[in-house]
Symmetry: C2
Subunit: 279 residues, 2 copies
């Protein structure tokens, strides 16, 4: 059972904000869905967006300007929240880069986080089923993209589940969480000290082990302060892709920062990239 | 002197958020400017956006998706805040539809508002000069549009200053403030009881007296609750335009509401409308 909290007509389609009880996360979760006009007459492909630190299910739908292109290509957009909220875990709201708004798309194994923070299973398993039960979609055609922490999420979900996703792309993704402060904090907090487990959630490790069946598109702004602070490390991912001959289109965008103003500027290209594999 | 508070590259151009001391409003005012890529090599036309109740200079730039089309057509976008803020006037923050965030684009004559609330002069006189002094623009090519209270503002600014503006359009504008609750509250509060003064700020009255030299484009969503509550009254403006043979393209957009999701859906059409008269 999902609950519709608000709904808007936009670009000829329908944008809804929903909540439901997630069995993976054992708590309420929220997500947004944009149904393109085509969805009134046929089952359409699904494109998932995973957001970055501190975001909710709203940011992407308000700021990215994606609906126009989803409507043009007939894709249903799904944007989940970035973590469970109000779980009652002590300290969940203490950091902006851990806990609430910072689920990092992993299945936590460490107490107390393991009782609720199962964002990997939520995104890969539960949410697609919820979407299929409630919206006119074709689950044989799914793709995934995201921003920053959500770019990390998109890459790991896609590489670990190549049969589920036709294509993947990212804006300013955290591609080597084992080697940056955000990632070290999140992976140690959610997964404990065993770095073998961490590597299942590190795109740079995964591409060397698994790779992906279609070319990966990544945009990175050169004026992005988190890029400059070595939280993102696209150069490591690029090197790993080169090692294993993984097709990668990494574009450094001169002068762009980490904001949705950057994302919106290249949204058309990303949705076009996915539409090629989905339509 | 204007102060740059933040700046972002977007769609190949530059978005800045500014503050300055306004002599019209005798207080700090804020505005946002999007400089299209063309502005690095030539003076470009200016398109002003006036926002609705409760908005700041940010809403439009975050939500409307206008930068893409401004970049395509080489237009500089300017979005001022909707009122002075923190003026110290007693009760300025008491209502969401009067005072802060609700300047209604009039020059207040009533004490205490008359000491700061001069949004009409600010938009029509002071702001264009500030823009001309600080940005590469061609003030012979200006147009104006807006939403709700700002649609009202755009229409009255354009009709009263046909030599300044090449074109005007609006989303869900308040077109007959003398005949709706929002307008009655604002006009009586800012201008007192003399309804002759009010009529200078009422688009439906002005079009009968003055008209405008180019066709007016208006989009109105049919699921807009403020339309249903008779705050907007496009039918009165349509009737007045018909009386005086003012060319009007009033489009009722089925199922759309009052939000920026509606605005974004038709932004391309509006910017195209202005580009025809500006380029």
């Amino acid at each position: 059972m999902i609950k519709l909290n608000s709904e808007y007509k936009t670009f000829g389609g329908k944008l809804g904000f929903y909540s439901h009880f997630s069995s993976s996360c054992n708590s309420e979760m929220r997500f947004a869905v944009y149904q393109p006009p085509q969805a009134t007459s046929q089952n359409v492909p699904v494109l998932y967006w995973l957001s970055g630190l501190t975001c909710t299910e709203e940011n992407f739908m308000i700021k990215a300007g994606a609906q126009k292109y989803a409507a043009e290509h007939g894709l249903l957009l799904v944007a989940p929240d970035t973590s469970p909220r109000n779980t009652g875990i002590l300290g969940e709201d203490e950091s902006w880069d851990f806990g609430t708004g910072a689920g990092f798309y992993v299945d936590a194994t460490e107490i107390p986080w393991s009782s609720h923070y199962k964002m990997y299973s939520y995104v890969v398993e539960e949410l697609p089923n919820v979407i299929a039960e409630n919206f006119p979609v074709n689950l044989d055609k799914q793709s995934i993209f995201g921003h920053s922490m959500g770019g990390h999420g998109a890459l790991i979900c896609a590489m670990r589940n190549p049969e589920k996703y036709k294509s993947v792309s990212a804006f300013a993704p955290v591609v080597a969480p084992m080697q940056c402060p955000w990632g070290e904090k999140a992976l140690s907090g959610y997964l404990g000290d065993n770095k073998d487990t961490w590597s299942n959630y590190d795109a740079t490790e995964l591409v060397k082990k698994i790779g992906f069946h279609s070319p990966i598109l990544i945009d990175q702004g050169t004026a992005d302060s988190f890029f400059q602070q070595k939280q993102l490390l696209p150069e490591l991912f690029e090197k790993a892709c080169a090692q294993v001959k993984q097709p990668l289109n990494l574009r450094y965008q001169e002068g762009y920062d980490h904001s949705y103003y950057f994302i919106a500027s290249f949204m058309e290209d990303h949705i076009h990239h996915h539409a090629i594999f989905l339509n």
